[in-house]
Symmetry: C2
DNA sequence: CAGGATCCAAGTGGATACTG
DNA sequence: CAGTATCCACTTGGATCCTG
């Protein structure tokens, strides 16, 4: 598919709606994916530990995010048959590979806050179309 | 803020809900941001050119995305006072800096399609919680 | 051509309560 | 503890029509 494009040796093009790589990009475009993968990049973690690290995430979103990551082969889930339950999550090889990139984005977000806040202030007096959306 | 955390020399922590870097990360977690910034990384482009490159984006989402990027200082918008209208968009220095990272993610998405498709197939027989969400 | 204005269907995600 | 289930407010984003 699309292998006739010389710029795309792998035959995938995320700019195309029907391309599988587009759905991968879509999966990655979630703030919770960034943060959960980021939290797991420190090592194997339990559900509750993740919930505490990723501030503001609800149990529902945490579970949902972990399930998607597991489905796509980025996270391994291990259940211990004990009471009370104990479940641990860990990045796979593929997940660790991705985590490097995502952490760079996260670091970038932290590093460039001043410029962006400044830009927003400039744009603010007062809002145009961008006001509604975050 | 948060400057008492030795791991965060910049004093920002995207894991914290109220931290400005969290809102930056939130802004970046959009498939359209990835693709529009990606399209602009090839150079200055007109509205219509972007619409054609980023398959499936509606005029509304394109404009909205561009406005957010402009507001945050990642994109410059230049209007030519001619008829019919001509508007061009271009990445700023900060935008080009970001584009490098985002393009890596996009390339990653394209490169790892096979593994992810395989993982999804394994997970499929048949769906658990991850089925509903993309 | 660029994009504003509406309308609306569907998805997202938060809050809360409950269970093995 | 690690979820699941439910309800619901809000947002997202597509479709459509309109204008300088």
């Amino acid at each position: 598919m699309y292998s006739n494009d010389p710029d795309k040796p792998f035959g995938y093009d995320a700019f195309r709606r029907e391309c599988m790589s587009h759905t991968v990009l879509e999966m990655l475009s979630s703030k919770w994916v960034y943060l959960v993968v980021g939290a797991l990049s420190f090592g194997r973690r339990r559900h509750g530990e993740l919930a505490r690290k990723v501030e503001g995430i609800t149990p529902k979103m945490l579970t949902q995010t972990l399930r998607v990551l597991e489905r796509d082969g980025l996270v391994l889930r291990e259940v211990f048959p004990v009471i009370p339950p104990r479940v641990e999550y860990e990045l796979t090889e593929l997940g660790r590979n991705l985590a490097g990139l995502l952490n760079e984005i996260r670091a970038w977000s932290e590093r460039h806050v001043p410029e962006i806040v400044e830009a927003r202030k400039q744009a603010s007096p007062d809002s145009e179309g961008a006001s509604a959306a975050l």
